[in-house]
Symmetry: C2
Subunit: 335 residues, 2 copies
């Protein structure tokens, strides 16, 4: 029986297995410390397409195809595909998946999208309305940079708090049947706006949302942070992760020993000159669907809590002087 | 018991009632033929805000508040709110709902958003994970026009196939308990791209998606179009509606007698000079949550099928020469 635990957390009564997962990344990500765990490293960040925008869609399409192959399933076996991305009107997703022939549910959760996708993909299975769902998302450094910041060719200087948008896509096939890693709990975030206005410091804008969602998860499930072998955030980077750990202590939860952040993991931060770390929908997606789920299969982790965070502004609202609302969604994955 | 009927249609085993609904519109919509059915008509399209972008969010916030009041429920009674809009990164939604304090799931379905929201809001209830969900969306003529087309002040000429974006927001409270109108079936669309590249003819771009989803619904449920008192599309307008009816006949389904389109209903098309009709996420949302659900309560309709359609491009992809992918999601509502 599915049941609600408090306001934000849902406990899934029916088993929802992660049947397969895949991560496809660009050249820079392929040179980072997790390179061995990605299913494909693409040297041409344009993926043979005529624009970065279409290239990002091609990353999604490729991740979807590899995930299906690893699950030994066809597109026709998928009841729903759930995805979204950072491009205006989520066009990477729509162009990338326009030939997929799978009932599609479009999401916008900024960099929290991978976990929103896993959350709703899991709900559809646990509700009895799906046997299999495909959950994915992507980001692309070049399509994000030109849309949110400056033209690439301009070579704008980056601030020390800036994060590098991951080029890549991660995809997971969820299934009613299977073995191994299961999604057991979903904690859905609220929109939170703490008044941060610095668009070059996303970690600070998003950390309070992660604090809110993680605290809700611990309160509502009655679990301590120690229950989990790993508490993984999406892309808070170095600045946001420090804020998170401090703010969590004020809420009465110490996560110093078992916290890590995808934004701190995918690049060699000093060697690859990425300032405060990595970001983008593809950051949590590729680190989770590449590295972390493999580590679970190896037995490194048995219980993890993954909270991705998204900054919900756009460049126009920031120019208009608005602060940056944020959100964080979490799922618990256990073997 | 929830069950899947074929590939795209889900039959909800648990009752999901539309407990309350509200529609808030701008001045032009308030001068149209449905004016008596809206909960609020706002003479200031800026809603007292400093930008059209924020004004659109204020429309959502107001529609949400009125819907809650009519349901005699508080924000704290809502398990989830599901919304999205047409602004880049869905900022109308994020700024409009940032104080709502309800677990939030962000959607992007372009003008199909209202039905995507009702679909997932209903699934969350029928899965046992929610007692109440709030489903809404909005659009705003001015925020859409400047983002997708030309600055308002430029006064660009409109083509005969162009549609007028509705200024307004529609909201519905779905609930496990209640009486009257219920969501019984959900038919989820696939992304479809038939190669249309004319950004001023959205009806033509979106009609094939509606054909695909409506045909799937009839095939998978075994129902004839005659089963429904009304088959309502979201915003195909005059051009798209004619295409729809023709294309449906080729699929073997005659909907000439019971089809209508929200884009043909909200304005006095000739008198208000809106060319091929209305469009925007707010079109289906306000016509459904204002007019149609009231008519169901009056007994005019007992069984309706509502299919909203969304065009999934952005202005950049069109400039890059890409065609326009589209999607259509449908829900069956019965008393």
């Amino acid at each position: 029986m599915n049941s609600k635990k408090g306001r934000q957390t849902a406990e899934l009564g029916e088993a929802v297995y992660i049947k397969a997962h895949a991560a496809v990344v660009g050249a820079k990500e392929g040179e980072g410390p997790l390179s061995e765990d990605f299913d494909m490293i693409v040297s041409d960040d344009k993926m043979g397409q005529k624009s970065w925008d279409l290239a990002e869609g091609a990353f999604q399409k490729t991740a979807l195809e590899i995930a299906l192959k690893k699950a030994n399933l066809q597109a026709s076996d998928m009841d729903y595909v759930l995805s979204g991305d950072l491009q205006n009107q989520c066009t990477a997703t729509h162009y990338g998946l326009r030939d997929s022939d799978i009932p599609f549910l479009g999401l916008y959760g900024a960099c929290s999208t991978m976990i929103e996708s896993l959350s709703l993909g899991a709900v559809l299975i646990s509700s009895g309305l799906a046997q299999n769902t495909l959950c994915l998302t992507s980001s692309h450094f070049c399509s994000a940079e030109k849309q949110y910041r400056n033209p690439i060719e301009y070579g704008g200087q980056r601030t020390p708090t800036a994060q590098w948008t991951v080029t890549g896509s991660g995809a997971a096939v969820l299934s009613k049947s299977g073995e191994g890693a299961r999604i057991t709990h979903i904690t859905t975030g609220k929109i939170l706006d703490k008044g941060v206005t610095d668009i070059t410091n996303m970690g600070a804008a998003m950390a309070p949302a992660a604090v809110d969602t993680l605290s809700a998860h611990f309160r509502e499930t009655g679990r301590n942070p120690d229950y989990y072998d790993l508490i993984l955030t999406g892309d808070l980077g170095i600045v946001g992760s420090e804020l998170l750990k401090d703010l969590m202590k004020r809420e009465g939860f110490n996560i110093d020993n078992n916290h890590n952040d995808c934004g701190k993991m995918i690049y060699d931060i000093e060697g690859q000159d990425v300032h405060a770390g990595a970001s983008g929908c593809g950051c949590c997606a590729t680190v989770l669907c590449g590295h972390i789920l493999r580590e679970m299969e190896k037995g490194t982790y048995k219980r993890i809590l993954v909270a991705a965070t998204g900054a919900l502004m756009n460049p126009l609202t920031v120019l208009q002087g608005e602060s940056i609302p944020a959100i964080s969604h979490a799922v618990a994955i256990e073997i």
